[in-house]
């Protein structure tokens, strides 16, 4: 996992409450090997017109969006299917952080495991940010995980990034979670021995 400490970027606003993972990456693409790169599938259907061409009105298709690494999203972003391909698509496209009022639980966890930082920001603040970005599309936002601060443009202020310390530490250090868990092998072995003793039917 790529470590994340601080990211400053312009921001692309993705419209739609309850933007489910089927919208982030349609199911027909999730068979692909990761080596192919999932960025090409990001928002595949919703960024295209019915004839299959990129819709110039979709925010991510605007020329200025190319350099942005942060997205502003609406409530319950990433709900639905647990497909981690949704996170792969964002990461492979170059997205490093998301800002929104809430995220689907499984999507949120998947993001953390891939070094994509989902920042929960109260809805009213998200709306103020969206209005500001509409007027000043070049405005930059900083996601500073080292200080746990989201720094918004103009007078929109600084906001705490609330994330459990465990996940934050893993992302800051780009830590491999499986390797880290193996440092607790002794406790795991003791637990599974006891569990198998009292629940023999689970292990046959």
């Amino acid at each position: 996992m790529k470590a994340f400490t601080r990211e400053t970027s312009t921001v692309v606003t993705i419209p739609g409450v309850n933007c489910d993972t089927d919208q982030i990456i349609p199911g027909r693409f999730i068979k692909a090997d990761r080596a192919q790169g999932y960025g090409q599938f990001l928002f595949h259907d919703i960024r295209r017109s019915e004839t299959g061409e990129l819709d110039p009105a979709f925010p991510l298709n605007r020329p200025a969006a190319a350099a942005a690494t942060i997205l502003l999203v609406e409530d319950n972003f990433g709900c639905g299917s647990s497909r981690e391909g949704a996170v792969y698509a964002l990461v492979d496209h170059g997205i490093r952080a998301l800002i929104g009022p809430s995220f689907g639980d499984i999507f949120y966890n998947n993001a953390l495991k891939n070094g994509l930082v989902p920042v929960r920001l109260p809805e009213a603040d998200c709306q103020r940010l969206a209005q500001h970005l509409a007027a000043f599309p070049d405005a930059e936002v900083t996601v500073d995980l080292a200080t746990s601060e989201l720094i918004l443009p103009a007078d929109l202020g600084r906001h705490p990034i609330v994330m459990n310390d465990f996940a934050r530490d893993c992302i800051l250090r780009g830590l491999d979670e499986i390797e880290m868990t193996f440092t607790y092998l002794e406790q795991i072995e003791a637990f599974e021995k006891a569990r198998t003793g009292s629940h023999a039917w689970l292990d046959r």
Partner: protein, 468 residues
């Protein structure tokens, strides 16, 4: 009062019993009793192989081919495309590589993972169960912590049989009263999600309680917990009781008769203590619920069948109004249109929500002696359900009604296997998601119960099943 004697919720009890340790920064390292694998899990296997790791506890891992399997036949050649056939072959190869028990395309135990796991006794009260599928919440119906994970977490479970997890908040949904005739767990969930919203249970574990839930069969409880995720819940669960124990007894992977009394004494401790406190409480009067149908592109867009398509302006907040307008455009519906009588093009009965034998019986009861006037398919939840439906004569009823009687799999719910709804078509579907493009690009989904889907098939319109 000592910590140990403080009243605990079912979630708390099962969590505590699986907590290997708690990290100083918060999350618990949870022991995972069961990990269910399907074809989509290939990323996790690639990760293990890259690391040179093997599954740590192979007997606690079970694989089922469901998402990509063909439903028109059981040969690999029946797969809709070479790429889809490769998914099924890769699944078999990965499972064999890991020395893992699996139910492949031709296995008599094959089916949709969340139908198969309870059916085979893999799902049991008091367990922690994961699967890289969001509808793993289904399995909480037997009194387990069961939740969906991604591929990184799946690799972590395969490698360590554990998972780092932050304990969700607790929410009790009490469904009082007796459900009216013809009202199912599906209607209850659409009603609940319509009430609290698609994000309404975010960050929470739902425990379903109340008279209506106690009266439900296991199959109905599975439907209830299945759709918890559509309210953004981390998981759903129902306290195990005599109905649960009767259901579990004798199943392949359940405790043996010699072990039964020991298991039962453990399971009787699982339900929440009488005075346990929940962080949120929601009460629903089950006796007031009508047959439900969705009009939009989120499961929260649900109304009673005698309702109308809402006016976007009636929603609170600019985002919701815009979302409703977008939904109506996609669904090609005008505000004020009555749902009852809306013409449909196709019917799908199946999915981990509604494909068990009781679902099929309720659809057959409506279809008996009648004909579908639109293309309709019925996809049993498992190969065992299929065999049972054939033995009971239900399959014949479906075929006589003009339904295609298919082999089991996720089919037209996920539309990954080549079964899909054509662009612009309106489908009455017993699945769980009416998302844009979910059943195929441009597909328009109306979520309903199996009886409502059957009623729609015979009239070619969304129809109040209470009139049939």
């Amino acid at each position: 009062m000592a910590q140990a004697s403080a009243p605990r919720t079912m979630l708390g009890k099962i969590w505590d019993a699986h907590e290997i340790l708690r990290h100083p920064s918060g999350p618990s390292l949870l022991y995972i009793d069961r990990d269910m694998i399907h074809e989509g899990s290939f990323h996790a296997f690639a990760d293990l192989k890259r690391r040179g790791l093997m599954p740590r506890r192979p007997k606690q891992i079970f694989g089922v081919a469901d998402h990509y399997v063909p439903t028109r036949g059981r040969a690999l050649a029946d797969a809709a495309s070479p790429a889809i056939a490769t998914m099924i072959e890769t699944f078999d190869a990965n499972m064999e590589w890991g020395g893992l028990r699996h139910f492949g395309l031709k296995s008599r135990e094959q089916g949709i993972v969340h139908v198969v796991a309870p059916e085979q006794g893999i799902t049991l009260p008091g367990l922690t169960i994961v699967c890289s599928d969001s509808h793993t919440s289904t399995q909480g119906a037997l009194g387990a912590i069961a939740f969906g994970i991604g591929q990184s977490e799946n690799a972590h479970v395969l490698a360590t049989q554990t998972l780092w997890q932050v304990r969700p908040k607790t929410m009790r949904v009490t469904i009082d009263g007796v459900l009216p005739q013809g009202i199912t767990a599906k209607d209850v969930m659409l009603y609940l999600i319509g009430t609290i919203g698609a994000g309404g249970a975010g960050g929470h574990a739902i425990e379903f309680a109340g008279q209506a839930v106690r009266n439900m069969s296991i199959e109905a409880r599975l439907t209830l917990c299945n759709m918890s995720i559509e309210a953004a819940a981390r998981l759903g669960m129902v306290a195990p009781d005599e109905i649960t124990f009767d259901y579990v007894r004798g199943r392949t992977f359940a405790p043996s008769e010699q072990e039964w009394d020991v298991a039962l004494s453990q399971w009787r401790e699982v339900p929440s203590d009488a005075d346990a406190e929940f962080e949120r409480e929601v009460h629903i009067d089950g006796s007031k619920i009508a047959p439900m149908v969705t009009w939009g592109t989120s499961p929260e867009d649900a109304v009673a069948i005698d309702g109308r398509v809402p006016e976007p302006a009636s929603f609170e907040g600019e985002e919701k109004r815009k979302a409703a307008a977008r939904s109506l455009e996609y669904m090609d519906l005008a505000p004020g249109t009555p749902l009852d009588g809306l013409k449909i093009d196709r019917v799908f009965i199946g999915s981990c929500t509604n494909s068990r034998i009781e679902d099929l019986r309720s659809a057959a009861a409506i279809l008996k002696g009648r004909k579908s006037v639109v293309p309709a398919i019925i996809v049993p939840g498992s190969t065992e359900v299929k065999a049972q439906a054939e033995a009971e004569g239900l399959a014949r009823t479906f075929q006589e009604a003009g339904f295609e009687w298919r082999d089991s799999g996720c089919s037209m719910c996920a539309a990954l296997n080549g079964d899909f709804v054509n662009p612009g078509e309106r489908c009455a579907s017993t699945s769980n998601r009416n998302f844009v493009g979910r059943q195929g690009p441009g597909a328009r989904t109306h979520l309903v119960s199996p009886a409502m889907a059957a009623a729609a098939a015979i009239t070619g319109r969304l129809t109040d099943v209470r009139r049939i």
